[in-house]
Symmetry: C2
């Protein structure tokens, strides 16, 4: 591979001048031209590794997400990407599969590759961001915020959204409303449960703790959780499901049990991905996934540019779909 030295020799200038041409600093138009010609001739691609080593910073942003197969996170990724690319950064996606050790491995990669910054939807409440924070790396939490981390964050209003979704069921006349929540160690789940409770209380309905099932935010988890609820002594007449994928699983479990909404009501936190029908009996609150990503990217870009103000949290609204 051609280097800056090869280009310099062919163009009859010094390597410093070649470097300056590729970094937009002051060179004569004449030199700019000969350098560009020489570079084209040699098929020169600057070695970013060397540049990064020298500058101690690359123009790559890492987006760390827990589940690449969840369309919510890929939509969020699109939001990050659109914003980052417009500012000249490349985005690489790192999928942790909800595994804190994989997550920690990717954070080390981000440090070790001198990436410009990290946007992270943490695998757990207990995710440890200190490898990043200790080194003053720009970080923005999105969707989920690890406990106790004083960092910028962009989230949705999980309590209000959970409450709104549950209220849709109340308004449609359901009275015994269960909840399929996410993992106990994920902040978003805790808050969505709080929203469910608040809605029940506001409606004067009793909250039966045996109607709360925890699952894993995945399709199969939602399926199994709904089966457990169906086997309950006093079966619920409706279920608030705390994310999109578990709602898919819950609906499949209902179908396989021969039950069709609205016989049992379902309210989903997050729109059903790629749905082709509007099943009666299924209510949703819709999440601004792409906007979460673009808002997070904008904040990260400001931090990279040197912004030093206090960390802030941006909360976006979940919108009930009627």
């Amino acid at each position: 591979m051609a280097t800056i030295y090869d280009v310099a020799r062919l163009a009859g200038v010094s390597p410093a001048t070649v470097s300056r041409v590729f970094n937009g600093t002051t060179v004569t138009p004449q030199n700019e031209r000969v350098v560009k010609e020489a570079a084209a001739e040699l098929d020169f691609v600057p070695n970013r590794t060397a540049r990064t080593l020298r500058l101690r910073s690359s123009d790559i942003i890492a987006l760390v997400i827990p589940d690449i197969e969840n369309p919510y996170f890929t939509a969020l990724a699109r939001g990050v990407e659109d914003e980052a690319r417009a500012a000249g950064y490349s985005v690489v996606l790192c999928n942790t599969d909800d595994d804190m050790s994989r997550e920690s491995g990717y954070l080390d990669v981000a440090v070790s590759e001198h990436m410009a910054g990290v946007i992270i939807a943490a695998a757990s409440d207990r995710s440890d961001l200190s490898p990043l924070l200790d080194r003053n790396k720009a970080v923005v939490a999105v969707d989920r915020v690890p406990r106790g981390a004083a960092i910028d964050a962009v989230t949705v209003d999980n309590v209000a959204g959970g409450r709104a979704a549950t209220t849709l069921l109340v308004e449609r006349g359901y009275r015994r409303i269960a909840c399929i929540a996410g993992p106990a160690d994920v902040e978003t789940s805790t808050r969505r449960i709080a929203g469910w409770s608040a809605a029940l209380e506001a409606a004067g309905l009793p909250e039966d703790p045996t109607l709360l099932e925890h699952a894993d935010y995945r399709v199969d988890g939602g399926y199994a959780a709904l089966e457990r609820l169906l086997a309950h002594d006093e079966r619920p007449d409706a279920v608030f499901v705390a994310n999109n994928l578990m709602s898919v699983g819950a609906l499949r479990a209902l179908r396989d049990a021969g039950i069709h909404p609205p016989a049992v009501g379902i309210a989903s936190f997050g729109a059903l991905p790629f749905s082709t029908s509007a099943p009666t009996g299924v209510s949703t609150v819709s999440l601004p996934a792409r906007e979460l990503g673009s808002a997070a990217a904008r904040i990260l870009l400001e931090r990279i540019a040197g912004d030093r103000q206090e960390p802030r949290t941006v909360v976006l609204e979940a919108v009930p779909v009627v």
Copy 2:
């Protein structure tokens, strides 16, 4: 950030010895211990940028895909990831959004960052892989193969799959079967069309070229294409749709037109993502997305390890779901 020199000083050895400890070459157990203690004490993370510059190769694999919001490609990504991680590589995802200039930018990044190899589902038949091939970078094409590139490839049998899907419609009694294909410059689309033709011919059905609609492999494209077919003078009684997302769009268009399968039959190349019902009238051929990814990764890893045999193409089967 602590460097190898800081660790060496604290441990009372040379930087070379520290390097050897982290690269698994011969050191005394005693030295190994003091170096590891010193590294832990200093919170040392090796600088991969420097390592890559020196070795001219990193342990990162790039996976370049055209649409991160298509579950088919994210499933494929999971396959790549599982295989690559088991071999000690990290995978970063690059989303081209079907744009050849974005794709070309990412290929330059892969070269310029000295990534170990690239797995690519090309944006177009005309995608130019020469930046990679000219530099002997390990490359495997997956799902789609750019024209004329003599490289390893893992694909599905698009002709047989298209034929099988169309045949499912024939067997269910449909006689005027349209096709919603992908972009004209994408190889997979051309082949799936050929499968559609072959099935019609085998069934002795006439092929009406006005029943062939091209779209963009996206939800909205499938929606619009189905609307065009419905407006056709002699409306088709069934449609073979050449990918999963366009099938979602087509089904939504049918729903919005108040038509419910099996009034119009639909056969989808690729399972409907996250479907919650098994709509009668919708047939599918199912694609081994994850296996495509893992097979591609296995071949890439062999190439990285130095395999020099002739490029080969692995073709996996699309399986009709009855």
